[in-house]
Amino acid sequence: MGKLVLSLLIGLVGAGLVHIAVIFAMPSVAERNAWSRLADLGEPYALVRVQPLESEPGTVSASTDAPVGDFAFVDPAFITAGCRFSLERGPVRIYARERNITFWSASIYNRQGDNLYSINDRAAIDGIVDLLVGTRDQIVDAEAENETGGSRIPVEVETVEGYMTIRALVDEESKRPFVDSFIQSVQCEAAEELAGR
């Protein structure tokens, strides 16, 4: 009887350990985290749209051909897009060819979904989207080669794989085409492609 109680006690202590292990492991092993949802939408470095989920499917959904990610609580007043990237072979440059006329903000996450860096149009130089995301060494190298001039903002992150999102406000429907083309002009480029030019 005493041994049974002892084994139950050991089980309880083990349960505590399992509990802690499960909680800490979950961000790495969760199957439906934001990274894998973005992976459903497109290849790395491809800019994909993040659409709000509709409550009654089929009533309004206009475009069925565009890939739609299942992200919850997406603000419909914004046009949201994102891309995944890897810093294994070099930094990634995130930039927009166009300027935006409304508020925009961008975030960099690591693969587990931790928000590492965020910026908005007021914090950016001249309100231009132009980020060079890399590890500490990559940023130092890029600065030595003078690749970070002008309005480009170097962003140091401690991750190998990650993703970014950018949201731009559509406060009036008449502005939607402009905001839309701004988001379309956003590009995520691996550094090798930059060097190839």
């Binding site: 041994k3 049974l4 002892l6 084994s7 139950l8 050991i10 089980g11 309880l12 202590v13 083990g14 349960a15 505590g16 350990l17 399992v18 509990h19 292990a21 499960v22 909680i23 800490f24 979950m26 961000p27 969760a30 439906r32 985290n33 934001a34 894998s36 993040v50 709000p52 989920l53 509709e54 409550s55 009654e56 309004v60 992200f71 919850a72 609580f73 997406v74 603000d75 419909p76 007043a77 949201t80 994102g82 508020f103 903000s105 961008a106 975030s107 996450y109 690591n110 587990q112 979904g113 931790d114 928000n115 590492l116 860096y117 965020s118 908005n120 007021r122 406000l169 406060d171 009036e172």
Partner: protein, 194 residues
């Protein structure tokens, strides 16, 4: 033989209890690290690298894209000021002011994060740039399925409702004193019968 059975009992207890409590904690721990102001609840540290492990685990399961500190803060209301759960068939009045922010949006969602889309032509979400305001810069927004004069946010259907008030580019998101904020009141005005 008896020893083997005891070991199996210990291991089974550890795995079962540990797994169950972890799942339970992730499900029920949504209030850790949150700041609540009236009916509005926010978690300013959600998604940050130094967030608590429970909210990290929950976030990984839900897969939301959290707003960064430089982007804004999302406040969520599931109950009105009297503690009654929000319903899509009821109408509510949101009155007051928000903390300084470049822009804020008010959006109705279902509890699993789907947009409550009203019939076409009706306002399914509001942005602060298009609100009508009182002389003292405060505003009143009617939320509900029936059209109202003034600021109106349309809902439709029946079932639970979650309102999100997202403040973008706001000093609130820097850690200092989110609890001393003033956010608009949220009062139920009546419900459609049936």
């Amino acid at each position: 033989m008896r020893f083997t059975i005891l070991v199996i009992i210990a291991v089974a207890t550890a795995l079962y209890l540990g797994g169950w409590t972890a799942a339970w904690a992730v499900r029920e721990s949504s209030e850790i690290g949150t700041v609540s102001v009236g009916a509005w609840v926010a978690n300013p540290f959600a998604g940050a690298p130094d967030a608590d492990p429970y909210s990290k685990a929950r976030l990984a399961k839900v897969g939301n894209l959290t707003l960064g500190i430089g982007e804004g803060v999302l406040f969520r209301a599931e109950e009105d000021d009297n503690g009654q759960p929000l319903r899509r068939e009821c109408s509510y009045l949101i009155e007051g002011t928000t903390p300084p922010a470049r822009v804020f949006t008010l959006v109705p969602f279902t509890p699993d994060g789907r947009l409550v889309r009203p019939p076409s032509g009706q306002p399914g979400w509001l942005t602060s740039n298009n609100l009508m305001r009182e002389e003292d810069n405060s505003f009143a927004i009617a939320v509900g399925p029936r059209a109202r004069a003034g600021n109106w946010l349309a809902t439709q259907g029946e079932g639970p409702l979650v309102l999100t008030l997202s403040l973008y580019d706001t000093p609130v998101s820097s850690a200092s004193g989110a609890a001393s904020l003033r956010l608009p009141s949220l009062v139920r005005k009546g419900c459609l019968d049936g």
